[in-house]
Symmetry: C2
């Protein structure tokens, strides 16, 4: 079975010269169209229309309009996604909304594989509410930990360290069976693999757009509210752009219709314009094809590394269906080894304490890139190239 | 006394062709340097460094670095300001932090002239806390309403509708005398007039950067925490970028040192780059000079309008020292009149129910602009040019 042909998509990216970029799961590369689109918005809209851009350039509708484009990539109903803020803020918002919908319960269940900011935000939320607790279990224990005290099951579908993929359908079903609601963090899912929020019956979801969606550093987050809940949500972060009539300047808050009530403040137009350009790359792309190619690339990588790098231990599930679009290996000297690898033009990243992480993004990566990555990694390990002082210096961002 | 010469600053802006732009208090015009700076960040940093930009291009430090530049414009101590999110979010954060520092009290005092989103965010915060109340009084009653039940005095220094300027020094002093803390919204102050947060003994402040600071549509907000409080604040929005060691990926939250703990999620780099370029315009500018010029322009405008437009009633304080950098007039047909004015190249804005609002931004406005604005306004009113169907159609953003 031949792999899908993504050469048309690959041509739409600026890839760092000479690099094999296996870190699109952290920050996607620059889509070629994005700088001109942002420049045009700055010169032709901000420059020529100034305040008039909110109406005439349609800035005011961008969060919902771009949200609808994301909806199409994550199996969400039209009109159920909007944009803005950061994923951390969107986690706070959605967990707060879900807790409100489950009065009489106060446990938020999550797992130790969740990305820390999700846990931190819930800590802060529960402290602010003065009630409730965050129950953390191991990822494989989540299903059994769901009981009738749980108000909200909050999980990141794909583990940022290991790539382990939760079963969204089964966990959502079980959560509903015990009377809980679900909040899914799709940071490592959106643009990485097929997601079917509507089909799974998910209640809330949120995600960032700077990873597999290539929106740029700090690009705006997205938030999903199932249409059956949207009109019942009373936003905790009740900002004026989520008001029914922002420009009535009423003293009291009345939520807007549907998911638009999850908007908070003035939307970040430059970030939305860059993201909107980045989303053009997905036109005509089937997520099932992306998944098939991602699995082929990651299997090729795992086979190559296991054959040539005995120092490394696979930290990801072996079965590709049980992973997202990344593969991780444990190595005690992982930090230095990753720096040595990067210095030689193969870019992955490191996650404490000992995880070397590699992302597979078929829109701009092919089998040759994988072979080159394996080759360089094998050389770094065989020749202990990591064992140099310059590779041990920790940078601010790892 | 001659006015300061801002021709060097004026040359640094792209002004909408043929417009007299009296709406810089809503969205500042495009600084000429901004598009190239953003393009360079996209091509040279994102495009060439990809994930490496966080360290090599210094993205990770941008919130605090840009925050320090803002600090210099609002009389804040170095290291006491950081950037990110929207003003709405920053209001939530600061009021939550201030409430935490005043256990046993639960009243937030504000006024009916505050910008609605500040009130909405506090409504949401108090609902989430399940305790406390928002007490709203008229602007002139604030001083007397400060009593020993008030935990937090939250005010916007300059009224978005009338331009009325609160006395930050006196109100902060009185708040402290009754044991309350202050949160100052500087949306219409930063870049508009001298602000001395440290001198006033302010506790917390926040503001947006797309008005007088010209950061662009939806530019990131700033937040200030007085150094004496910074190490005691336990952030309610406890995101990973406010963690002491974000890349340790600990399961528990530990706040970063100082104001950096008010960071939440991944910072919006494109927005920060545009803002950073916009801040260059302020190099060598004395805020006292800006204030002096702003008063001269607004006095000229008020005198002209009152002489020639008897239909309008001044809604702003008559004494220029009692106003920010805007002037408003009431007119029952204000919406249509403003549309007629805009159609003739004089841009102000409308605030419900009947306010015609005009902002004075001396960096790019001179006396000739004011005279032209008065001329056109007089013509619109004398000839009832507003009384046309096309000027009554309400747009999404007013």
């Amino acid at each position: 079975m031949s792999l899908p042909d993504f050469s048309h998509q690959r041509a739409q990216f600026t890839l760092p010269e000479g690099l094999v970029y296996l870190d699109g799961n952290s920050l996607g590369p620059l889509p070629k169209a994005a700088p001109d689109r942002v420049a045009r918005a700055m010169h032709e809209e901000w420059g020529k229309m100034a305040i008039g851009g909110w109406n005439r350039a349609g800035w005011i509708d961008m969060p919902d309009r771009v949200g609808d484009r994301i909806a199409g990539l994550i199996g969400a109903e039209p009109g159920s996604v909007t944009m803005g803020d950061t994923l951390s803020i969107k986690v706070y918002q959605t967990v707060a909304a879900a807790l409100d919908l489950r009065p009489g319960r106060d446990v938020v269940l999550s797992d130790t594989g969740n990305f820390p900011t999700d846990l931190y935000m819930v800590e802060g939320l529960l402290r602010t509410r003065g009630a409730g607790s965050l129950r953390l279990v191991e990822p494989e224990e989540v299903m059994d930990a769901l009981d009738d005290r749980v108000a909200v099951l909050m999980l990141t579908e794909v583990d940022y360290r290991t790539g382990r993929l939760h079963d969204m359908v089964a966990l959502t079903e079980r959560a509903h069976a015990v009377g809980a609601l679900t909040v899914w963090d799709l940071a490592h899912s959106a643009g990485a693999l097929p997601v079917d929020l509507a089909g799974a019956g998910a209640d809330f979801a949120a995600g960032c757009t700077y990873k597999y969606l290539n929106g740029g550093p700090g690009a705006p987050a997205f938030v999903y509210v199932a249409p059956r809940h949207a009109e019942r949500v009373q936003p905790a972060l009740s900002g004026w752009l989520g008001h029914e009539a922002p420009f009535a300047f009423d003293l009291d808050y009345r939520p807007a219709r549907g998911v638009s009530r999850m908007r908070v403040g003035t939307p970040p137009i430059l970030g939305l314009v860059a993201l909107d350009a980045a989303l053009d790359v997905w036109e005509g792309v089937e997520m099932a094809d992306v998944r098939r190619a991602s699995i082929a690339l990651s299997e090729r990588f795992v086979a190559g590394v296991e054959a040539r790098c005995p120092e490394l231990t696979l930290a990801s599930p072996r079965a590709p269906e049980a992973r997202g679009s990344q593969v991780s290996f444990r190595f005690a000297e992982g930090y230095a080894a990753m720096q040595a690898l990067i210095a030689r033009g193969v870019v992955g990243d490191f996650r404490a304490p000992d995880i070397m992480r590699f992302g597979f993004t078929p829109l701009y990566l092919g089998p040759d890139d994988i072979d080159r990555a394996v080759e360089v990694l094998a050389e770094v390990l065989a020749d202990r190239l990591w064992d140099r002082p310059e590779h041990r210096q920790r940078a601010a961002v790892t």
